[in-house]
Symmetry: C2
Subunit: 355 residues, 2 copies
């Protein structure tokens, strides 16, 4: 089992180091190889996703990814900025299915911005399509407007698009995931305005015919944003496009109060995947040894389950994380009166010990 | 002062009737003319925005709008659906600047999903560009894909676009609005992925040069969605495009807990405007006499201030609304233990009396 380890920028290397420590203690035949990505790769090789890193990711059975991005790269041309690495990996590896659980850990209910009764026991799965939509649609660029409100003026433009097979495959992923959970899928669209999402809705309804045991409903994206705030527990599986999924999955993660705890998986059609925490590179706290490594450790658990066929090992990690939380150990992002504040490394050590 | 009154569907006619009652008691020389819009207009004239209604809206100095939409029109072809009326009005009247305040009323802090300390005193102004972006960009439609992941398959597509003058004018609106408030503008974009929003950010920075007294910062839309949940009070004025604004302004309105209280204005370049509550047509409670008319009444106040140059009359309405809340009167959406539940009409009567 070959794992590509791509720590990236900011807190990336600190949190990934803890996840690697946890993987190592499982006593499984992993071959792990590290490579730079994002700003770190730009510094070392002049490109955020060097060929060698991409090749390693292609050759591996799974990828453990930290985070990319730092303000210091803001002035670089777009193709050289750290985020291009993650967009490039998604595209070149065909990682079209992004799983983003939004779970409110029982021990952390108080950390949510929402009133405890609204989030206690929250467990939503957001499935975001990750290789289509306006993220990759062509054409895009700048030009002189030929119509619109100000013909003759400079304009910039992008293309939103989804093809039938792209929608079909993410629909199957969502219905199959729902089968293993609450058997309810909410498809989020903007069919009242966008051609792309009227088509999305139509294809969702068609694919749903194969899953009579799963309930399907449809919600406009603006309403979905409201319902997440008002009554998040009404959702089971939410499936949506790349752009809407970017916004809604972050909002949902934040409202759990547990964003430092939330893993994510981005899978290709063979369940090969890239695993990363839902939070970002947090350059403001990089190097301080205070970042929460649990989202990355739980991402490693997801990797064992989804890509490496080691569900028992995944369960051991998840149980160990539950146990350190119950012991009262907390990194600063989830700390509260009466619990014990620990650093990144101590948290990783505690998980190792609990395993 | 000619006002077009467009009640629309669902609770529209009930809530607009109360706002009209309030306007009538001000003793100002209003000429009000009613016309159908949305599903109601489709039923009467076979089109959600009949020529006669559009003409009335064009001739008027301001438009008071209720809400449109009902599930019973879901099966109609897109051009005949109720929402096309509001999109058509925005487009034909050039209503490019949408003002959506997200205010947490002191008396209603408890009604928010968020913890009281996060929303008490909240007062954000979201300015959404309303006639550009992917809402109106051409081309759009269905076709056979020539490239992308599945060339040869059916696909649907839309065009996101902004021209320089479109961004400039909404930027000026935002900076000028900020001058009258906290002097801080947050421009929300997705410059790390979209050409359109890299351009948006560039032009924002250029226009900002005219407003050295106002602070400008930039935030990605996914992060903005998180910050609204985590620490909404950090914002003063938020300015963004049509699509992101649709999502963020609804999320912000809902998290105040006061969505039944929030007015909105959509202005053209001469401050002629359309005024409507931030909430929708709520067909599930239509005709029951329980809808909250205060957002519509406050929209009428905004109309007096922005389009009809009657700030004193606007202030009288706003004070009257404050007074009925302090009296403890509540419609069911904002009711809590210890306050007095009233219906739509009683609430309108109470505002009239307080004036
Ligand atoms: C870094 C950025 C390009 C990326 C995205 O927009 O997809 C990030 O926000 C994410 O959600 O993984
Ligand atoms: C009804 C719909 C077309 C509209 C929009 O998306 O703009 C609504 O959601 C709004 O925000 O006014």
């Amino acid at each position: 089992m070959k794992i590509a380890i791509l720590p990236g920028d900011g807190i990336g290397s600190e949190i990934v180091a803890e996840a690697v420590k946890v993987l190592n203690v499982l006593d499984l035949p992993f071959e792990m190889e590290h490579a730079p990505v994002g700003g770190a790769a730009y510094e070392a090789h002049g490109h955020p996703l060097p060929d060698s890193t991409l090749q390693l990711a292609k050759d591996a059975d799974a990828i453990l990814f930290g985070a990319v991005g730092d303000w210091k790269y803001d002035k670089l041309d777009r193709p050289l900025r750290p985020e291009q690495a993650i967009l490039g990996l998604r595209k070149h590896l065909g990682l079209f299915a992004n799983f983003r659980p939004a779970i409110c850990y029982e021990q952390l209910t108080h950390a949510s911005s929402l009133k405890p009764e609204l989030v206690a026991g929250l467990d939503i799965l957001i499935i975001r399509e990750l290789t289509g939509d306006i993220y990759f649609g062509q054409p895009r660029g700048r030009r002189t407007a030929v119509d619109g409100h100000f013909p003759g003026s400079e304009e910039a433009f992008d293309t939103m698009r989804y093809s039938r097979p792209e929608i079909e495959r993410i629909a199957h992923v969502a219905f199959q995931a729902a089968r293993k959970r609450g058997k309810r899928v909410t498809s989020v669209d903007k069919a009242n305005v966008l051609e792309t999402f009227q088509f999305w809705k139509d294809v969702m309804i068609e694919v749903h015919a194969d899953y009579p045991d799963v309930e399907l409903d449809h919600m406009y994206v603006d309403n979905a944003a409201m319902q997440l705030v008002k009554a998040p527990k009404r959702f089971d599986v939410m499936v949506t496009g790349n752009m809407f999924g970017d916004i809604l999955s972050d909002a949902a993660a934040m409202l759990t109060g547990s964003i430092g705890m939330l893993p994510s998986a981005s899978l290709d059609k063979n369940n090969k995947g890239l695993y990363e925490p839902s939070h970002g590179s947090a350059p403001d706290i990089a190097g301080k040894g205070i970042a929460n490594p649990l989202a990355t450790i739980l991402s490693a658990a997801m990797m064992l389950k989804f890509s490496l066929n080691q569900p028992a090992a995944a369960a051991r990690i998840e149980a160990a994380v539950g146990s350190v939380l119950s012991q009262g150990l907390r990194t600063v992002d989830i700390w509260s009166e009466g619990t014990q504040k620990v650093g990144t490394r101590e948290m990783g050590d505690a998980v190792v010990k609990a395993i």
